[in-house]
């Protein structure tokens, strides 16, 4: 009964709020009201400096430098622990006593469903259409280096998580920034607290923006596109789409209707596999074009003809989209990974290596190859961009694929929203305390943003929300630098045990 009541209340509330927004063209007003603030934040986060004629945002340099430093500091952990990470995911070291707890596989799958999504479909298309095939090379490199960032933050996420008295687990950058730095002394404790609060604020912002409005907006645009573009019956009904999605999300996060989330969590991996298989099918069907596509990727990476900004411009596009897609260094995934059952935090770090690998090196590369092989990336062949471009590329091989892609985009967006609502809520309750009121107020806000995101053209608000997600990387990685020795100690102790065979292998293969 109470679930139903919550559901109905939510629905009525959303109807009321969205009508208010949809009718009086309040999107303009919101844009104007938020714009100065949003522009200031976006301007600060994306403040850039010129390199060889291209404006490079500082945050991108920040992400790449950290990923490179971590890769060298841990002596290429992204290669060294790659095989062992797979053994852990496969359950080779699974402790039978812990049956029924969250396994490495489950933690990784959950984190992946939060990151695999629009970035892999839309982001790659943007990178290749703006940066040419060569952007793929830099995207793969950024994914490879990003593995080390994920390793670091996920190890810390497990090490400093909170195990609450009621038996639930809470972890993420808020906890490792505050608890981890507190171990270094009184002044560090204050510093860590500041970083943790900053992270939580940005994470809440990111959960409303990139993790919510952006998802709603892009999936609606693909739905309109596939049903006939501007002539579609749906074209001016973003608010309706937003209401439906908000109701579904509301049923999951407020009504406690776990069935929807459970079904989504099972369909999403299936859709991801379908997407990858379709991409591989197109690549195999055109196998004779693969060598020249790879040639174009490598040539384009170092000789950028006709690309604005030359090689630096290509590199920038690749790095940017990789960072958007796998969120390595942003800290969001550390929240999802920290629920795993293990008494060796570093094991989850090894497992987390697979997140950027699957997300960027596998899925993004397949998307890029399809776009390059089918020739749709060339603006003179096809003028569309984002999701539409990927959709065209797949359509040129399978005419029905845009429908599958639409379904995939909707499901990816939905599961990304569910994941981010959790990340945002954890940050929100970290800031305002954990009780019924804070919990409900966050969730209501989250649902309102779903409707806003799909019913409006929110240029500056979208910029703002992207900025919030990237802003998370400042406190997160700054703290990670200070905590590197902690991770190294965990790593070395574990690696010694692993190499000398002191770990119990439960599955012999």
């Amino acid at each position: 009964m109470s679930k139903l009541r919550v559901g109905i209340t939510t629905l009525v509330f959303l109807f009321a709020s969205s009508y208010a927004f949809a009718d009086i063209g309040i999107d303009e007003k919101i844009n104007l009201a938020i714009k100065p603030f949003a522009d200031a934040v976006a301007g600060a986060v994306f403040s850039s400096f010129p390199v060889a004629g291209v404006q490079i945002p500082f945050v991108l340099v920040w992400l790449i430098v950290a990923a490179t430093v971590f890769t060298f500091y841990f002596n290429f952990i992204n290669l060294r622990a790659f095989r062992h990470g797979f053994e852990l995911v496969r359950g080779d070291y699974h402790d039978p006593e812990a049956a029924g707890e969250v396994t490495h596989f489950q933690a990784l799958a959950t984190a992946l469903s939060g990151t695999v999504g629009l970035g892999n479909i839309a982001g790659v298309a943007v990178a290749v259409s703006l940066g040419g095939p060569g952007a793929t090379f830099w995207m793969i490199l950024a994914g490879f280096l990003g593995m080390s960032s994920k390793f670091t933050e996920c190890t810390l996420g497990v090490k400093y998580r909170d195990e609450l008295p009621d038996g639930t687990v809470s972890g993420g950058p808020m906890y490792y920034l505050s608890k981890g730095l507190a171990e270094k002394g009184v002044n560090f404790a204050k510093f860590g607290k500041v970083l943790a609060v900053l992270f939580a604020i940005f994470c809440v912002g990111g959960s409303f923006g990139g993790g919510n409005m952006f998802q709603a907006n892009q999936s609606f645009s693909q739905l309109v596109n596939v049903t006939g573009g501007d002539a579609s019956w749906l074209a001016d009904k973003g608010w309706l789409f937003g209401l439906i999605i908000a109701t579904l999300v509301g049923l999951v996060i407020m009504g406690g209707i776990k069935g929807i989330a459970r079904v989504t969590s099972k369909i999403v991996p299936f859709m991801a596999v379908t997407y990858v298989l379709a991409g591989l099918a197109i690549i195999f069907m055109n196998y004779s074009l693969v060598p020249s596509a790879i040639g174009a990727i490598i040539d384009g990476a170092f000789t950028a003809e006709g690309i604005s900004g030359g090689v630096i411009g290509v590199l920038f596009q690749g790095f940017k989209r990789a960072a958007f897609s796998n969120e390595a260094g942003v800290g969001s995934a550390a929240i999802a990974h920290s629920a795993v059952q293990t008494n060796r935090p570093v094991t989850e770090g090894f497992v987390a290596l697979y997140e950027p690998f699957v997300d960027t090196i596998v899925v993004c590369t397949i998307t890029a190859l399809v776009i390059i092989i089918t020739g749709t990336w060339d603006p003179s062949v096809d003028p569309s961009s984002g999701v539409q471009l990927t959709s065209r590329a797949f359509e040129s091989a399978f005419s029905w694929f845009p429908w599958i892609l639409t379904l995939a985009v909707l499901l990816f967006a939905f599961s990304t929203m569910i994941s981010w609502s959790y990340y945002g809520l954890k940050s929100w309750t970290y800031l305002f305390g954990e009780n019924k009121f804070t919990d409900t107020s966050y969730k209501l806000l989250f649902l309102i943003f779903v409707v806003l995101g799909s019913s409006m053209q929110l240029g500056s608000v979208i910029d703002f929300s992207d900025a919030m997600i990237f802003a998370m990387a400042f406190p997160n990685l700054l703290g990670c630098y200070f905590l590197l020795p902690v991770v190294k100690k965990e790593l070395n102790e574990y690696w010694d045990d692993y190499k000398s065979g002191r770990l119990v292998k439960t599955r012999v293969s």
Partner: protein
């Protein structure tokens, strides 16, 4: 104490008949009796972040419920018959986990009821009984 017997129970009435059968066997041979219940679980399932965060708590609840609702009534009834009885609850694949438990406890005979699984499921995955009969390292008695 001549041997160790393990009886597997789920909540169906087939489990009851298996318990009756195990009771007779254990009495005759003066065996130690384990009453086992396996909660179906796999390490390769997909779940949400919230479900993962609450997983430890849920697991405790599942174990508690399995003991209080399924295992304890059976154990108490068998104890009243004067047998040495111990209840076991585990998570995992039912047949594989029963087999592992049997090995761990030195069980010589696993007794279980024939389950009412659907035809389709049985054809695809095989029943717990037939799987155990094929792979267990001790005697397996399937009670119809």
């Amino acid at each position: 104490m001549s041997s160790v017997i393990m009886v597997a129970v789920d909540c169906s009435e087939c489990g009851d008949r298996a318990v009756e059968y195990a009771l007779v066997q254990a009495k005759q041979s003066n065996s130690k009796l384990y009453v086992a219940h396996i909660i179906e679980w796999s390490q390769f399932t997909f779940s949400t972040a919230l479900e993962n965060a609450e997983r430890h708590k849920r697991r405790e609840e599942e174990l508690h419920r399995a003991h209080s609702e399924i295992i304890d009534p059976v154990v108490n009834r068998l104890k009243a018959e004067g047998l040495e009885v111990e209840g076991l609850v585990r998570h995992g694949h039912v047949a594989d986990t029963l087999q592992a438990l049997a090995k761990e406890k030195g069980v010589s005979n696993i007794i279980l009821g024939r389950q009412g699984t659907s035809m389709l499921k049985k054809h695809v995955f095989g029943s717990v009984g037939s799987r155990l009969v094929q792979s267990a390292e001790c005697a397996v008695t399937v009670v119809p």
